[in-house]
Structures are given as structure tokens and as C-alpha cells.
């Protein structure tokens, strides 16, 4: 559809700019707020241009006690917690769903389809729905305030299993037969052929799952009471309510800025594989 009417051109550009502003302005404000000192942030009007305190704020946020006047964990520890949780969730999800999809696609066992549909039905049961029983289980297993408790209940994934099932179904049968003639056993086939063939899909899924894990809010809030286990996403909310003082916007915004960095890094570094994984059909 190629049109060359100036009015439409202006209109489309206007809409696009509106969209960019809607997305970028909050990030800009966050960035600006992270570059001023606490005093400036309490004055009206709010600054719209960067100040000079970025490094000082970063240093205080990362390695100081964060918010002054609270006994919260330092932000670097929260970043580490979030990173550990997101990595465990995404790698765990990928590992488990790869194996279950492998079992469902390549093995004939009794109640194979029943298993598949049972996995599929868990799509309807995200953590938010089963939060009380899951909490009970995790508490009884003594996993409160641990990385295991943070990640394990979120690991089972119907979506990823389903996706890998579809990926494996596109691998031609001859590939398996050829591997059998070459003498490769099931696990050998899995590691030597299937894994490399699903490389791009794994990368695409990793990006999505990492961000899913990173953004977890409700579950970590529920099962971590120890401040040393706090994740960065929940800490931002806690900082707002910290003590009976006015929020220290410069520190909060610096934290928010830091919370954005790892997902951005993951997306950018995986971008090429991510796009391939979602678009490539050739096996």
C-alpha cells in the first residue's frame, strides 16, 4: 500500500510521534529524576533536563543503604536477587518444557495425550489463581525466603511446552530416522539434533521468559519477608511507602532505571536470534 498524499503523511507521522512520546516520556522523566539531588526533586516545577547528580545517585543507590532512613537491602543485592530469580525461572521453564515436549512428541507411552492436555490445562491456572495452595506447599517445603521458593512455583509452563511441541512437529521425521540409522539414541538425538535446531526458538522464548520472571511482583512479595531476599521490582513499591517521609524521588528513579537495564540488555543481545526464532520457518 503506497500512498502519496501529504495529509495522510502528516497524520501518520503525528500518530507515530504521539506513540513515541507516550512511551518515551516516562522513561525520560525517570532518567531526569535520577540525575538530580533529593532537594531539587521536592521543588516544583519538576525538572525536565538532566542534572549533575547521576553518579552520586547511582553510587548511593547501588552500594549505600539505598533509601536513607530505612533498613532495606542495598540495591545491588536486589538486582542480584531479581537476576537469580529471572534466570532460574526462564532456564527452568525452558529446560522442563523442552523435555516434556520431547517426551510428548517423540515417545509413545500410555496416556500420552492425557498428559499433554493436563499440561495444557495448567494454562488456566497461573500463580495468581492458585496462590494460596501454592503458598501453603512452598511454606511446608520450607522454601520461604529462598531462591527455590521464588522460582520453582513459576517454572512449570504450558505455553513453552506447547511452543516446543509445535517446533518439534516441524522437524521432519526423516531427521529422526536418519539419526537412528546413524546410531544416535534418544538423548543423543535430543542434544545433537533437536536442541541445535530449536536454538532460535529457545532464544526467543528466553527473552520473553526472562522479562516475565524479572517482572514478577505478587509472588515474591508474598513469600519473601527477609529483606535480603527482596527483588528490585517489589522494592520500588516499598520505597514509595518507606517510613513517614516524603519519597526520595531521585533514589527511587535511579532504582527504577537500574531495574530496566537487565531486560533491555537481554533484549538487545538476543534481538537477532529472537526475531529469527519468531519468524523462521525453514527447518
Amino acid at each position: 500500500m503506497v500512498e502519496n498524499r501529504p495529509l495522510t503523511a502528516i497524520l501518520t507521522h503525528f500518530m507515530l510521534m504521539l506513540g513515541v512520546i507516550a512511551i518515551a516520556l516516562p522513561i525520560w522523566i525517570t532518567f531526569v529524576a535520577a540525575t538530580h539531588d533529593a532537594a531539587r526533586m521536592t521543588q516544583v516545577p519538576l525538572p525536565l533536563w538532566p542534572g549533575t547528580h547521576l553518579w552520586a545517585n547511582l553510587k548511593q543507590t547501588l552500594f549505600g543503604s539505598g533509601l536513607s532512613g530505612t533498613e532495606g537491602a542495598p540495591v545491588w543485592l536486589m538486582l542480584f536477587n531479581s537476576l537469580a530469580m529471572a534466570m532460574m525461572i526462564s532456564l527452568g521453564k525452558i529446560g522442563i518444557s523442552l523435555l516434556s515436549a520431547f517426551a510428548i512428541v517423540y515417545f509413545r507411552f500410555p496416556f500420552r495425550m492425557t498428559c499433554f492436555w493436563m499440561i495444557f490445562i495448567t494454562l488456566m491456572l497461573p500463580v495468581e489463581v492458585r496462590i494460596l495452595p501454592t503458598f501453603e506447599v512452598v511454606a511446608n517445603l520450607g522454601m520461604l525466603n529462598s531462591y527455590w521458593g521464588l522460582s520453582i512455583p513459576l517454572i512449570a509452563s504450558a505455553t513453552a511446552t506447547f511452543m516446543f511441541r509445535q517446533v518439534f512437529l516441524t522437524v521432519p521425521d526423516e531427521m529422526l530416522e536418519s539419526a537412528r540409522i546413524d546410531g544416535a539414541g534418544p538423548m543423543r538425538f535430543f542434544f545433537d539434533i533437536l536442541l541445535p535446531l530449536s536454538r532460535t526458538n529457545i532464544a526467543a522464548l528466553f527473552v520473553i521468559l526472562f522479562i516475565f520472571g524479572w517482572n514478577q511482583y505478587l509472588w515474591p512479595l508474598l513469600i519473601t519477608t527477609d529483606t535480603s531476599m527482596t527483588t528490585i521490582v517489589m522494592s520500588i513499591k516499598q520505597m514509595l511507602e518507606a517510613a513517614e517521609q516524603s519519597p526520595q524521588w531521585n533514589i527511587i528513579m535511579t532504582t527504577a532505571l537500574l531495574a530496566m537495564v537487565p531486560p533491555i540488555f537481554v533484549v538487545i543481545s538476543m534481538q537477532k536470534l529472537f526475531v529469527q526464532g519468531l519468524t523462521e520457518t525453514d527447518k
Partner: protein, 351 residues
């Protein structure tokens, strides 16, 4: 070294039997082509020999060893698939070496074998490319290279040329044949293309609906087809069939003409004559009303009907022949080149 013996082989999927009591012996170093229309069970038979399909009953022996229960990798075979089934993420070298690596051969030995095979197939310069960077013909060579490096007792080919264009197919056909003769490895080749079958095979196994119709050399199949199916399947254009009645002094054609042939038979028969055996002869007994002319250059195909009847006939005449639509052309045929079949059993009747 490696003869293959199939004894009373059947294959069923649930209650439906798709292969019925297939038997045959393949000598060492022979090139056997299994040919038949799609759905006749030829690929199933090959995959049973490969070990990719289970055997319902009967026995497969390779080099006098029962292999029914053996894994494909333990049968000492190599297979070339229709879509080549190359591992897309491995280079040509890795593709060829994969099976050897699993068998834990030494690196030096693997390299030696891969390079030797690459030299035979002239793909040495592609060894470090990925399959997707190769053309169809080159992929085909790699697939064969993967079979060669394993130094198997049996090669199995599952329609390996059907993804290539016509010209390349003819070329690869010759190469496969030369290669097989050079290596002397017993081979089974599945195809639906009868020309491919005729040119490649030492012997052909014609399958139809899960039954072996005939198992013999290409010339045997052409000269003495055992059934109507084989007669119609082998040879191009296909054989003409006419219902006829055998009488004392000859064969009564539906056009009312008598042919002096097939003495010794009585009653209704199915008369077969190959289009290329019809000789133009102004005084010949067979008159064909021409409906369409196909000029192939070297020869001309006259399509039409037997005069006065509705029976379609084709005659293949060498050189260029021009024929008006609707005109009758007369042909004669040597009695020895006629084939007689029983209209009931569809089997060949010996004169």
C-alpha cells in the same frame, strides 16, 4: 558378503494388511529396484529392511543374520532419503562424520573416510558448507556421501531423485549406477518411475497393492510380463490391451478382424501389444483411427481407437509421421511380440 533374504514378509497397520507375503532373495552386490505406483507399499518394504518399520510377520535376513528385531544402526545399512534428511545445523563434513562419531571411530579414521567419500562424489570443496548453501544435486551427493562413509553392507535408497529436475535426475541416475558398480554394495532402490527402474536395476521387483507382481530383470519384465499390471506399468507409452477371443485359427479382435496368433488358446483372452511393436503396413490387420498425434522428434505417437470400436490404442512409429485426424492407419504386428493374458486372473498365458 551381503545377500538379503525376505521370507513371507507381511506388514499390517491394525487390521489392514498393506504388504502380503513378500518373498525374494537379493544376491550380493545386486542392484534391486522396487517399483510400483504410489501407495503400493514399496517404501514400507524398504523401511522394514531399514528397521524403521516393524515386521508383522516373516523374516528379513541380511548377510545370513536375522535382523527383524535389530535397531537400524545395528543392521549395517545406510539409507538415502527422498528429502535427503541432512542435519541443517551441521556442515557437510559433520553430516558425513556424525554416524562415525557415534560409532567412536578415531578422528583420523573419520577424516580419512569423509575425504575419500568426498573425493568419490567430487564434493570436497563443499565440505565446510552448510546444507542450505548447497543446490539440490549437491545435497543429493552429500546424502550419498553420508551413506558411503559408513561402509555398509547394504544401501537403501528411498526415491532419492524425485526432488531433482528432469535433467539432473538423468545425470544422477547414471552416477548412482556407476557408484554402485564401483563399490559393489548390495542396494535396494525404491522409485515410482519405471524408466528409472529399468535403467538402474539389475532386477526389478514390481509391487502392486502390497503384492509382488513380478521379480526379474528389466528385459524379462519387458519381454514376458507376468501380469496385466506389469505389462501396463513397464514400458512407455503403456501397452495396448484389447479383449479378444482365441479360436482355432487365430484371435478374433473386437473389430472383427482375425489375427494369426496365440494358437493353442481357447476362449476369451486379453491381448497386449506394445505401441512400438506396431509396424506401419498398408495391408496390416490392425486399423487405428487417429485422434491425436504426438511428435516426440525421434518417434511419433499416434493416439486413436481401433477402427469400428471404442478401444483406445497408441502406436509408436519411428521418425516423423503426419496423420490427419480421423484417418485410419493400418499396422501389422509380429505374433511373437504379442502378449496374452487371462481376463479373469490377469495373469500371463503362455502360448
Amino acid at each position: 558378503m551381503a545377500e538379503i533374504k525376505l521370507t513371507d514378509l507381511t506388514k499390517s497397520y491394525g487390521p489392514t494388511e498393506v504388504l502380503h507375503h513378500v518373498a525374494g532373495e537379493i544376491r550380493d552386490g545386486e542392484f534391486i529396484v522396487i517399483v510400483g505406483p504410489s501407495g503400493c507399499g514399496k517404501s514400507t518394504l524398504l523401511r522394514m529392511v531399514a528397521g524403521l518399520e516393524t515386521v508383522t510377520s516373516g523374516e528379513i535376513r541380511i548377510a545370513d543374520r536375522r535382523v527383524n528385531e535389530l535397531e537400524p544402526s545395528a543392521r549395517d545399512i545406510a539409507m538415502v532419503f527422498q528429502n535427503y534428511a541432512l542435519y541443517p545445523h551441521m556442515s557437510v563434513r559433520e553430516n558425513m562424520a556424525y554416524g562415525l562419531k557415534i560409532r567412536k571411530l578415531s578422528k583420523a579414521e573419520i577424516n580419512r573416510r569423509v575425504e575419500e567419500a568426498a573425493d568419490i562424489l567430487e564434493i570436497r570443496q563443499y565440505l565446510d558448507r552448510k546444507p542450505r548453501q548447497l543446490s539440490g544435486g549437491q545435497r543429493q551427493r552429500v546424502a550419498m556421501g553420508r551413506a558411503i562413509v559408513r561402509d555398509p553392507q547394504v544401501f537403501l535408497f528411498d526415491e532419492p531423485l524425485s526432488n531433482l529436475d528432469a535433467k539432473l535426475r538423468v545425470q544422477m541416475r547414471l552416477e548412482i549406477r556407476k557408484l554402485q558398480q564401483r563399490l559393489g554394495v548390495t542396494s535396494i532402490y525404491v522409485t515410482h518411475d519405471q524408466v528409472e527402474a529399468m535403467t538402474l536395476g539389475d532386477r526389478l521387483m514390481v509391487l502392486n497393492g502390497g503384492y509382488v507382481e513380478q521379480f526379474g530383470t528389466p528385459i524379462e519384465l519387458y519381454d514376458r510380463p507376468a501380469s496385466v499390471f506389469v505389462a501396463g506399468f513397464i514400458g512407455s507409452p503403456a501397452m495396448n490391451f484389447l479383449p479378444a477371443t482365441a479360436e482355432e485359427e487365430g484371435m478374433l479382435l473386437p473389430s472383427g478382424i482375425k489375427l494369426i496368433a496365440g494358437v493353442g488358446q481357447r476362449g476369451p483372452v486379453l491381448l497386449g501389444m506394445r505401441p512400438e511393436h506396431l509396424i506401419p503396413d498398408a495391408a496390416g490387420p490392425i486399423a487405428i483411427e487417429v485422434e491425436m498425434v504426438e511428435q516426440l522428434g525421434a518417434n511419433t505417437l499416434l493416439h486413436g481407437k481401433l477402427s469400428g470400436t471404442d478401444h483406445a490404442m497408441v502406436a509408436s512409429v519411428s521418425g516423423h509421421v503426419s496423420a490427419e485426424m480421423g484417418t485410419a492407419h493400418r499396422f501389422s504386428v509380429t505374433p511373437e511380440l504379442l502378449h496374452l493374458f487371462d481376463p479373469e486372473t490377469q495373469k500371463r498365458l503362455e502360448a
